[in-house]
């Protein structure tokens, strides 16, 4: 049963992140997950200073607010002409620094850092159950991530065409009357929601990895957005399963193994992809040369 809950949680995180990751990779903003993982620090510090408790719900609330502020600021700067990578860098370093200053000013003698109070551990999810009227409803993380996945599927599903056009050709999208800014903010809001709830359940590295790696691998394997999303989710799920198997054999960190498995799958895609793979390109180049000679 333990294995089942861990795999289900991992699968939900992988699916949420793999779907959103596709849009982020296309918009060249994949590092946004890493950015949010740092920039929520002032959120949890302020939440702790206001409530005096390190309860996970309070921490999650503080982190969510800061997550939204982060993506809002990044989007705002980017739309105002700052390069995407630079605006991510500016926002998250500045917010993280504010958090560090707050800790050093007010909370020298309290152990408060992200690892300790916000980031969850996937090995522990099945013990962190949600209780409703005294009955055990299963792991809290599964409910929270399941809900997040539903919201993501609903929003992306409803406005798929708009999201697609905004990702590939925002100018054209604006020209035909789609509120591009609104959809950018909507996507960023989803990213913030997915990452913060995943951090709380499974920790940072798994979320950041799953947001970037499966989508990047899928990007190498296809040129169609629809196919890319499905391949990305498939790679995410495969690395969840593979990684868990490896972690059982090695007795190692589960999240670490899952991300390593995703990285191995990415390398395979990089080498063997029929269209963009290293091998395919080499072969094509050789046959071209032989034909010209």
């Amino acid at each position: 049963m333990t294995d089942f809950w861990i795999l289900l949680t991992g699968g939900l995180v992988a699916s949420c992140c793999a779907i959103l990751g596709c849009f982020l990779v296309l918009r060249r903003m994949s590092m946004i997950g890493d950015a949010i993982s740092h920039s929520v620090l002032p959120g949890i510090v302020i939440a702790f200073m206001m409530s005096g408790s390190r309860d996970s719900f309070v921490m999650l609330l503080g982190a969510s607010v800061l997550g939204l502020i982060t993506v809002f600021l990044i989007q705002l700067f980017q739309q105002s002409g700052v390069q995407a990578d630079a605006s991510i860098g500016v926002v998250f370093t500045a917010l993280f620094a504010i958090g560090v200053v707050l800790v050093s000013l007010n909370l020298k003698h309290v152990d408060i850092d992200l690892d300790c109070v916000l980031y969850g551990e996937i090995a522990h999810v099945h013990w962190n159950t949600w209780e409703l009227h005294g009955s055990d409803m299963g792991p809290k993380a599964v409910w929270m991530l399941g809900f997040t996945l539903l919201v993501i599927i609903a929003v992306i599903g409803l406005f798929y065409k708009q999201f697609k056009l905004c990702a590939f050709d925002p100018a054209l999208a604006a020209a035909i009357g789609i509120p591009v800014a609104l959809f950018h903010y909507l996507l960023m809001g989803l990213v913030s929601m997915a990452t913060v709830s995943s951090f709380e359940s499974v920790g940072a590295i798994l979320v950041v990895g799953m947001l970037i790696i499966p989508a990047s691998a899928a990007y190498l394997l296809t040129d169609r957005l629809g196919a890319m999303i499905f391949i990305s989710v498939a790679i995410g799920l495969a690395s969840t399963g593979l990684g868990y198997g490896v972690s059982v054999v090695l007795d190692a960190s589960i999240a670490g193994c899952m991300v390593c498995a995703a990285a191995v799958l990415f390398i395979l895609a990089f080498l063997l992809s029929p269209s963009h793979g290293l091998l395919a390109r080499k072969l094509r180049r050789r046959s071209l040369r032989e034909r010209t000679i």
Partner: protein, 319 residues
């Protein structure tokens, strides 16, 4: 043309060999056996989060208990990462002991919930509010490093004794007897620490370390404690912290500062260097065990040995 393809293929083979080697290396590093519950029926299986607790459980439980710690020697509890095998250690345990007071971070929240299904006990649970050091900002958080005051650890040992007695009444007498012996040793350790620290001249009774873990030690045994870093080993120290500490060392002619087994030495070395430039030589008094004990099987790998090592190191360097 032929030659070129060959060299390309060779490059691929080299890359693949390299990857395989890396994999094998990782696998070799990963196999840490001898850390699981080995015995079958009959023994009470106990999992403790930190080594200090596992050590007390072993002393009180003796042959009737098999105790393992999640965090090994030299592991900073703030930075502990669960491995897949840790699930089994928690799942199979009859009793789980943890420190509490947020030492284990988010994990403690999970352990409290798990308490509905199996016995999970915070060894700090019987300490009075007045015995705890709280944050000066009044934010309601307590210093979790309670084991530096041996009196606190006596209370922890009593919690462990009573839990074992309750879980395994058949061996209750044995636990009580072993606990009584162990508590005598702890009382002795407490007395020893008091005497030894009191033998340092009063003006030199200052303990300077990298991170702020020795607060209970200072309160209990009358030695002023100064840390460079805050409570969390992940928090950053400011330049002002370095200069304040440096000036204090120079002004009070403190002879030695101490490094900790689970915290990098770099930060404290900056202070020593600074004091040197102001014409005051500060020595590194030795390595103290703070958040984790020494290697298994050595004297410092037990709670009593670790405290003794710390006390002797401090007295030797400051006297």
């Amino acid at each position: 043309m032929r030659l070129k393809t060959n060299s390309a293929i060779r490059r691929w083979i080299m890359a693949m060999l390299f990857l395989t080697a890396v994999m094998l290396f990782v696998t070799a590093c990963g196999s840490n056996s001898g850390n699981d519950f080995t015995s079958g029926e009959g023994k009470l299986k106990v999992t403790a989060t930190i080594g200090m607790i596992a050590d007390v459980v072993n002393n009180i439980g003796g042959d009737h208990v098999e105790a393992i710690g999640l965090m090994g020697p030299g592991v900073d509890p703030h930075l502990y990462k669960a491995s897949q095998g840790d699930i089994k250690k928690l799942d199979q345990a009859d009793v789980i002991f943890y420190n509490g007071l947020h030492l284990e971070g988010k994990m403690a929240e999970m352990l409290e919930k798990l308490g509905k299904k199996k016995t999970t006990v915070a060894v700090s649970s019987r300490l009075e509010e007045s015995a705890l050091r709280s944050d000066p900002s009044g934010a309601g958080a307590h210093d979790p490093h309670i084991w530096f005051d041996v009196r606190n650890w006596i209370s922890a040992a009593e919690v462990i004794r009573d839990t074992l007695v309750e879980k395994d009444p058949a061996n209750a007498d044995n636990y009580k007897k072993r606990a009584a012996d162990y508590l005598v040793k702890l009382e002795e350790l407490d007395r020893y620490t008091k005497e030894q620290i009191a033998s340092i001249p009063e003006a030199s009774r200052v303990l300077v370390t990298a991170h702020d873990a020795f607060g209970y030690f200072g309160d209990a045994y009358g030695i002023k404690v100064m840390g460079l870093q805050g409570m969390s080993t992940a928090s950053e120290y400011g330049t002002k912290d370095v200069t304040t500490l440096r000036d204090y060392l120079v002004d009070n002619k403190i002879k030695a500062v101490f490094v900790e087994s689970s915290v990098p030495k770099k930060s404290i070395e900056a202070v020593i260097e600074g004091a040197k430039q102001m014409g005051h030589d500060v020595a590194i008094g030795g390595e103290l065990f703070s958040d984790a004990m020494g290697k298994r099987g050595t004297e410092e790998g037990t709670y009593i040995g670790m405290v003794q090592h710390n006390v002797d190191t401090i007295v030797h360097a400051l006297k």
